[in-house]
């Protein structure tokens, strides 16, 4: 009996219709939470956190740069794991999540690279260096763009999903390289500010707003992913009865 129950749950989770309805209930709360956290973090980081002794005010870019980099990496896990689930269990919803995660990850990687470049100018005196961390982040951007491109280069959606899932799984190799790049090749990029194993190397007054921004970025990521996946669900299920009824009830 318990076995039966757990499988029911699994199938329901894989049902695009169930996802559409449940995420619709969560979305307003999650959006409010994301907006609130980002607004508080933004004001705190820009105006109230103390300036850095060495870098002055340019250090305030950290409140965008670090959270965006975090989510660029976390988003890759989401994409690759969803791709794997889609490959193994042929779960349609997982394929949709994978497709939706790619552009969000690409944008966040782009934000991490651009803010890093802008920050580099006053701090290192240059916008760009072929440092290990920066180069591996650029590879991450290309992996995301590759997945997006693969989604549009097959006429069959199944083949596109399979190919992008394989690419995102192969690309997982890059993730530990990004994490370790600052330790393996000690070049220009500074080592990680936040580590799970030890206390942060930052003053609490600077660290607290960063934490708020990271939480805000996580919520923002969830909102963006849900929004994109919902459109994908509607698009692929447009022939089904529940979407037809949904549209009929909304547009009349």
């Amino acid at each position: 009996m318990s076995q039966l129950f757990s499988w029911k749950w699994f199938h329901r989770l894989g049902s695009p219709r169930w996802f559409y309805q449940t995420s619709g209930k969560w979305l307003p709360w999650l959006s409010m939470l994301a907006t609130g956290l980002l607004l508080v973090g933004l004001c705190w980081g820009l105006a109230f956190a103390p300036q850095d002794a060495k870098q002055g005010n340019s250090f305030r870019i950290i409140y965008i740069h670090v959270p965006a980099s975090f989510l660029a990496l976390a988003g890759y896990y989401v994409m690759a794991i969803a791709g794997a689930i889609g490959l193994i269990w042929k779960m349609k919803l997982a394929d949709m999540v994978m497709k939706s995660a790619a552009p969000i990850g690409a944008v966040l990687t782009f934000v991490a690279l651009v803010t890093g470049a802008i920050w580099g100018k006053p701090t290192w005196g240059t916008y760009w260096v072929w440092d290990a961390r920066i180069t591996s982040m650029l590879v991450l951007l290309f992996l995301y763009l590759g997945v997006i491109a693969l989604q549009y280069s097959y006429s069959s959606q199944d083949a596109a999903s399979k190919a992008s899932a394989v690419l995102s799984l192969v690309g997982m190799v890059n993730i530990p390289i990004i994490y370790k790049s600052v330790d393996w090749w000690y070049t220009l990029h500074q080592p990680a500010t936040i580590k799970f194993t030890e206390a942060p190397s930052m003053h609490p007054d600077m660290f607290q707003p960063l934490l708020v921004m990271i939480l805000g970025f996580y919520c923002f990521y969830a909102v963006a992913l849900i929004l994109n996946t919902r459109v994908e669900v509607l698009c692929r299920e447009r022939r089904t009865r529940w979407v037809q009824e949904l549209v009929a009830s909304k547009c009349t």
């Binding site: 933004l42 820009l46 105006a47 109230f48 956190a49 103390p50 300036q51 002055g56 005010n57 340019s58 305030r60 870019i61 965008i64 740069h65 965006a68 552009p103 969000i104 944008v107 782009f110 934000v111 651009v114 803010t115 802008i118 920050w119 100018k121 006053p122 923002f220 909102v223 963006a224 929004l227 994109n228 919902r230 459109v231 509607l234 698009c235 447009r238 979407v243 037809q244 549209v247 009929a248 909304k250 547009c251």
Partner: protein, 70 residues
């Protein structure tokens, strides 16, 4: 505690203003795009599906009327 003497200093950021503000503005605009673009796609999709429904209803109507006349 507000770290700056006045608004002008806040905007200048001790000479780092252009860097800080451009980084924040670029990030903010692409992140807004990330949320707005699925909403726009959804609206367009719903409109497309609705238009198709109307077309199918209209087609059924003409089919049944032509059936009646013959």
């Amino acid at each position: 505690m507000f770290q700056f003497e006045n608004i002008q200093e806040f905007i200048q950021m001790g000479g780092h203003g252009p860097y800080v503000w451009s980084a924040y503005l670029i990030s903010l605009s692409v992140m807004i795009w990330l949320v707005v673009s699925p909403l726009r796609r959804k609206r367009k999709l719903l409109r497309d599906i609705n238009r198709q429904q109307q077309r199918e209803i209209a087609q059924q109507g003409t089919n049944s009327s032509s059936n009646l006349s013959t």
